[in-house]
Amino acid sequence: VHPNVSQGCQGGCATCSDYNGCLSCKPRLFFVLERIGMKQRGVCLSSCPSGYYGTRYPDINKCAKCKADCDTCFTRNFCTKCKSGFYLHSGKCLEKCPDGLEANNHTMECASIVH
């Protein structure tokens, strides 16, 4: 085992190091790099933090950032909740709803016009 990799890891780490935190996670957990000042530390979470989305792969589960106008998302190109000032429509954050739809300021979504 690499000298800098300690065995007594906390949380969901499979391997870790004193300096970098988690290096890899236990099955099913998501690996996230947390920035602390100039440093980055690895942490393992059961789901990705707000503003990130998770993608599972055979060897690692990763978190990645949503787009700038999006609070929570399914993938980078599919938002599930927009930042304030934007309306959600089919996974996209729009400043104005497309023709034929009306802006619902309660749900902050574009909805069909009810006649």
Binding site: R28, S47, T55, R56, Y57, P58, N61, F74, T75, N77, F78, T80, S90, G91
Partner: protein, 417 residues
């Protein structure tokens, strides 16, 4: 969210009543089949992942009622067979991820996905992309299909994709002709390497006016058309072909062209005006050809020039031919002597004394201004570490890295004159 469990079956009525459900995670489970009946009860579903399961086929009409679905992830399964109508009903699908499966044939079922923008089927076992492969997907912006044993690509496979900006085809050895890219006018990056292409169509640039990167290495190209209509071309990779001549109009007016790689060809003639209009050219690789002369017109801006492997190119160059040169590779060591590789040019310590200062006393700010005079007024708008790196760089390395560098057995004098 049902991801990361051990679910192997989804009973038909599992989602009954969930008429507003929009996002479903079923990834990282043990499904071997698409839960077709259960999914038929989710009219509002917009995004679903069935990735990391053991699904081996997609039957016809598997997603028939999911007319609101926008994103479908099926990566990392074992899908070998895909019904011809497997994706019928997905009228609003924009993203389809079939990467890391075992598909043997091109997923023709995609032809019904009229709003598809992102398609991935890399890391499968597909050997051919048929004619008119994407005729039903005019909105496609990205197609990832690397790491497939693709041998054949239909001439019309990538036509009429006006939003596609990147196309990469590597190792498709059965390709003999350059694809017809009629209507695929937004293409910016075209990589078509290790195939059998001999000829480039005269009108290649008319079809691709927005091309920035054209990478055609490892083909059998003998003749080049004029690229002058590729006005945005920045990088041109033609290494490992059979090109013999460069004409006056081959690269004419390519004002954005920064780098050309023509190494490992059969070049024996370059027209004197070939590079004259290339004001952005900084990198030129002509190594391993049959050149006896190099026209210098238009090469004043070069920072990287490679000429080794042209045994008849024996003339030394004048120092002022390349005022910005940083990396120069030439056929013979004596050709490096012009650039002081014989001890004249390095900023030897005695040169510092001659100026009454030693490196340590040198004021970094004054040194920086010499390096970047343009920044005198607005202080440092460079990142501190970039500045430090350049200071270090200029101390340690001579301005020009010229090889082969002369030495005891490769003297500066041209012995045979």
């Amino acid at each position: 969210r049902l991801d990361a469990n051990l679910i192997s079956v989804v009973p038909e009525r599992s989602f009954e009543g969930l008429l507003s459900l929009r996002h479903l995670w079923l990834d990282d489970n043990a499904l071997t089949e698409i839960p077709v009946r259960a999914l038929n009860r989710l009219p509002a579903l917009q995004a679903m992942t069935l990735a990391l399961n053991r699904i081996w086929h997609i039957p016809d009409y598997a997603f028939q009622n999911l007319s609101s679905l926008v994103v479908l992830h099926l990566h990392n399964n074992r899908i070998q067979h895909l019904g011809a109508n497997g994706f019928d009903g997905l009228h609003n699908l924009e993203t389809l991820d079939l990467n890391y499966n075992e598909l043997l044939e091109f997923p023709g079922a995609i032809r019904t996905l009229g709003r598809l923008q992102e398609l991935g089927f890399h890391n499968n076992n597909i050997k051919a992309i048929p004619e008119n492969a994407f005729v039903g997907n005019p909105l496609l912006q990205t197609i990832h299909f690397y790491d497939n044993p693709i041998q054949f690509v239909g001439q019309s496979a990538f036509q009429y994709l006006p939003k596609l900006h990147t196309l990469s085809l590597n190792g498709a050895t059965d390709i003999r002709e350059f694809p017809d890219l009629k209507g695929t006018t937004s293409l910016e990056v075209l990589t078509l390497t290790r195939a059998g292409i001999r000829l480039l169509p005269r009108a290649v640039c008319q079809q691709l006016p927005n091309l920035r990167v054209l990478e055609l290495s490892h083909n059998k190209i003998e003749d080049l058309p004029s690229f002058h209509r590729c006005q945005r071309l920045q990088e041109l990779g033609l290494q490992h072909n059979r090109i013999q001549e460069i004409g006056a109009d081959t690269f004419v007016q390519l004002l954005a062209l920064r780098s050309i790689d023509l190494s490992w060809n059969d070049l024996h003639f370059i027209h004197p005006d070939a590079f004259v209009t290339l004001r952005s050219l900084t990198k030129l690789d002509l190594s391993d050809n049959r050149l006896a002369a190099l026209p210098l017109g238009g090469l004043g801006g070069l920072t990287h020039l490679k000429l080794q492997g042209n045994p008849e190119l024996s003339e030394p160059f004048a120092k002022d031919s390349f005022p910005n040169m940083r990396v120069l590779e030439v056929p013979y060591a004596y050709q490096c002597c012009t650039y002081g590789s014989c001890g004249g040019f390095f900023r030897a310590s005695n040169q510092w004394e001659a100026e009454g200062a030693s490196p340590e006393d040198e004021d970094p700010h004054r040194r920086a201004l010499e390096l970047f005079p343009g920044h005198a007024d607005n202080h440092y708008d460079l990142e501190a570490d970039d500045l430090q790196m350049d200071l270090e760089d200029s101390k340690l390395h001579p301005t020009i890295q010229c090889t082969p560098s002369p030495g005891p057995f490769k003297p500066c004098d041209h012995l045979f004159e």
